[in-house]
């Protein structure tokens, strides 16, 4: 009744694609978060006027489709600069900046959510700016930022499905390759979707739980 041409080696092929998805996500989210924190704090510190160039630049990453960002970066490095970058490097680079753009927004919002009075109290107790940042702002802002950051990380994992355009064979691309060969779109797409869902759903639920748990009211 149920038979398929799917073999074990095909499953290994899919697993490799899934590994690639996770690898790209892990690299971009970790680097992007670091950059995002730097940009976010910078934007908060220097105020909206001086941060305008950074704000504009980061906004560009959120206003044009990721697919076009990837194609542009690939064309720029490959055709204009004639560098021999691998697709993986281009994909990670673009996704890192993409993550940083969203993360900066989250970090800025979270730092702004720390009451000014609390920070002034810390400073008047003799804490330096750095101490204030690490001991007062960091714990308070993390509560605000964590749920959104989890959402962002999951968003980047889902958006990493687009890096096939720079010749990175991640999960969805390897699924498509198998579909072309085996002609069983439904089964293969279900497998692929199930993988994304199994990773994304519990973490999204955790994010929702943390959001309820950490909110002050």
């Amino acid at each position: 009744m149920f038979n398929t041409a799917l073999t074990l080696s095909d499953l290994v092929f899919l697993a490799k694609g899934a590994g690639m998805t996770l690898l790209v996500t892990a690299i971009s989210v970790s680097l992007g978060t670091i950059l995002g924190i730097i940009f976010g704090i910078f934007r908060f510190q220097v105020g909206p006027v001086w941060a305008a160039p950074v704000t504009f630049l980061l906004d560009v990453f959120r206003s044009i489709p990721l697919l076009i960002q990837l194609v542009l970066a690939n064309a720029f490095f490959g055709m204009v600069l004639k560098l021999n970058l691998t697709g993986l490097a281009v994909a990670c680079g673009v996704l890192t900046l993409y993550t940083a753009a969203y993360c900066a927004e989250i970090v800025r919002g979270a730092v702004e959510a720390v009451p000014t009075t609390t920070r002034r109290a810390a400073r008047s107790l003799g804490m330096t700016w750095l101490q204030d940042m690490t001991h007062i702002v960091l714990p308070l802002a993390t509560r605000v930022a964590l749920p959104s950051w989890i959402g962002l990380a999951l968003g980047v994992m889902k958006d990493s499905a687009l890096v096939y355009i720079v010749q990175v064979t991640e999960l969805l691309k390897s699924t498509q390759i198998l579909i072309t060969r085996l002609q069983e779109p439904l089964l293969l797409l279900m497998l692929c979707g199930a993988f994304y869902f199994i990773i994304s759903f519990p973490i999204a639920r955790l994010g929702g739980y943390l959001e309820r748990r950490l909110s002050n009211d």
């Binding site: 560009v60 206003s63 044009i64 489709p65 990721l66 697919l67 076009i68 960002q69 194609v71 542009l72 064309a75 720029f76 055709m79 204009v80 600069l81 004639k82 999951l154 889902k158 958006d159 499905a161 687009l162 969805l172 498509q176 579909i179 069983e184 779109p185 439904l186 797409l189 692929c192 979707g193 994304y196 869902f197 994304s200 759903f201 999204a204």
Partner: protein
Amino acid sequence: MFGYTFQWGQAVKWLPQMLEGAWVTMEIAILSMLIGIAVAILFTSFRQTKSRILNGIVTTWVEIARNTPALFQIYMAHFGIASFGIHFSPFVSLLIGITFNNVGYLTENFRGAMKAIPDTQTRAARSLGLSAPQAFAFVVMPQMLRIAFLPASNQMVWAILMTSLGVTVGMNSDLYGVTQDLNSVTFRTFELFAIAAVIFYVITKTIQIGARLLAARLFRY
């Protein structure tokens, strides 16, 4: 310096075609938002009922839409449904995929907005003699739409950006598809896609600023 000659003149020549593509992109985004909002309102009303089946449908839809990539949803609409013998044109597949995604996110937005509306309002409406559907349609829903207006405009921006995924199911009349086709003729990849990026940027900014102005104008008390 670069050893590469930018030929913007050649690329700008194709601007009219690309703007036509941008119009198709807008069409898909607007249609998917209109259908999406209608279904999301329906789903929000389902959530008000205690029916386990209706709630189950809504939860399943929302969780799948939010926890899988949009590209996967568009593939599913095109190749997945095709295996049942139903073949959609790329336009329809793309529309279905984006709408499916929109419904998921909008329903979640509306749920957040519903939380902000006190339950007492429904009860007051009911005790004034309105039926449950009437109380939802005339008392709760207008306020919900007002609160969810700006998040929904963000979703509109997402819908615009998602139309670029149509190229994976063979769509070639939207902005990305047109650019891709022109690219395969002229090979001015960087220039063409840079222009497409600018068009996308202008469209999304216009929507964001327009929504802010509209919200300030419509929702003042």
